[in-house]
């Protein structure tokens, strides 16, 4: 199975922009490392999001000017950030109380695999000899109200990431609400993967072909 060159779908920025449209004003959001960080660049007109970084800051702002960096003002990806007006610092137990206690509205994460039951695998390949490292991923998916996955539809080698059941070690069971890929927006429902929207010019059959489990087609009249 390999990605067809003829079908382009959304690029990384378009994926992030598409996801951002589905976030209500005033949401408290934790952005995972990588593509999820791009979401902050595409806040829709008239909305304000507040970003939580689990290492102890609510109200995270953009990267600082180069000479304004503080080595002790960083995000979960250990990159320099700033604090917006209205920000607050707190310790790790309080930070994960926000996460575990269901106070955050949305967690946006990358993924290695997502099953049709909403299981997520994104922390380990399970290969012998690999250095295990989990960070806050298991806490986020267990605690945050909604979990959106933002990821390429397939791996770099063209393997499907949306599968019947995960073969990689799980981050959480039945935790994913929606998946935003380069090809489509897909909701996890009791009946499995439900296509909500296709990227422009991407046929449903193509997405199904790139998916390792049954995919329900999008509703007849798109809600857009």
């Amino acid at each position: 199975m390999s990605t067809s060159d003829a079908v382009q779908g959304w690029d990384r920025e378009a994926m992030a922009r598409r996801l951002a449209q589905d976030i209500p004003n005033g949401s408290y959001i934790n952005l995972g490392i990588g593509i999820p960080e791009l979401v902050a660049k595409f806040v829709p007109e008239g909305r304000t999001f507040i970003y939580h970084t689990e290492n102890g800051l609510l109200g995270m702002g953009p990267s600082p000017e180069e000479d304004q960096e503080d080595p002790e003002l960083i995000n979960a990806g250990k990159r320099h950030v700033t604090a917006n007006p209205g920000a607050a610092y707190f310790h790790h137990a309080d930070s994960f109380a926000m996460i575990r206690g269901g106070h955050l509205d949305l967690s946006i994460l990358g993924a290695m695999q997502i099953s049709q039951a909403g299981d997520l695998a994104n922390w380990s390949t399970g290969k012998p000899g690999a250095i295990p490292a989990v960070g806050g991923a298991m806490d986020l998916v267990a605690g945050v109200k909604k979990v959106f996955v933002l990821t390429q539809h397939t791996t770099k080698t063209g393997e499907p990431k949306l599968v019947e059941s995960c073969t990689y070690p799980l981050t959480g069971q039945g935790v994913v609400d929606r998946i935003y890929t380069d090809l489509a927006v897909i909701e996890i429902t009791p009946a499995g993967f439900q296509t909500i929207e296709l990227a422009p010019g991407v046929p449903f059959e193509h997405v199904q072909g790139m998916t390792g489990a049954q995919l329900s087609p999008p509703p007849a009249s798109p809600s857009e």
């Binding site: 800051l57 609510l58 109200g59 607050a88 707190f90 926000m98 575990r100 206690g101």
Partner: protein
Amino acid sequence: MINKRMPNAAKAVADIPDGASIMVGGFGEAGSPIELLHALIDQGAEDLTIISNNCGSGEVGLAALLKARRVTKVICSFPKTANSTVFPELYREGFTELELVPQGTLAERIRAGGAGVKAFYTPTAAGTPLAEGKESRDFDGRTYLLEHGLTADFALIKGVQADEHGNVTYNKTARNFAPVMAMAARTTIVQSARVSAPGGLDPEVVVTPGIFVDRVVEVPQPAHESELIAAGVSYP
């Protein structure tokens, strides 16, 4: 833009329904959100469950809410205080039920509720009458009780400086239960002597981050229980 400011206490508590569970900050009169409590009396909700360390004094604030026969259950560590006559009468009459919880267990149950910790093992009260009916377990030769996290529909708390994002600081020992109650309630309502735009509080000194707070109302000159009692006030 995010602005959690409410125009007044009445609007801030307007949607509290009959049967609601409400955490009320304060230890004695320190931190007691008198104006929110009086607005709740005016509003009329009844059959309430109150979670609070005390049951108020005199006939103002929390005691006045009880006196108005709006509270059918209290979860509390120390319901009787020097000037407390309202609760004892309602309790003896059987109108208001009491769940007595040791003070530290109460604080920790509220924090657990807010932190997504379902239950925890504590040594407090093991071997006492307050352990009756509770699951216990021995670890390393000592007995611990299983206590469950506590959440509520609303919290009413009193800050000193807040901002429109809901960040809050407190005055001295008025802090007491407020930070954990703000975490544990589905809707947290703060009255604060000052409310600024975002940026009015140093992020290093925020005690309750705004994510835990839903509504903020400015009450610039909050009443103190002892002063109202000394003035002979009986609310309403």
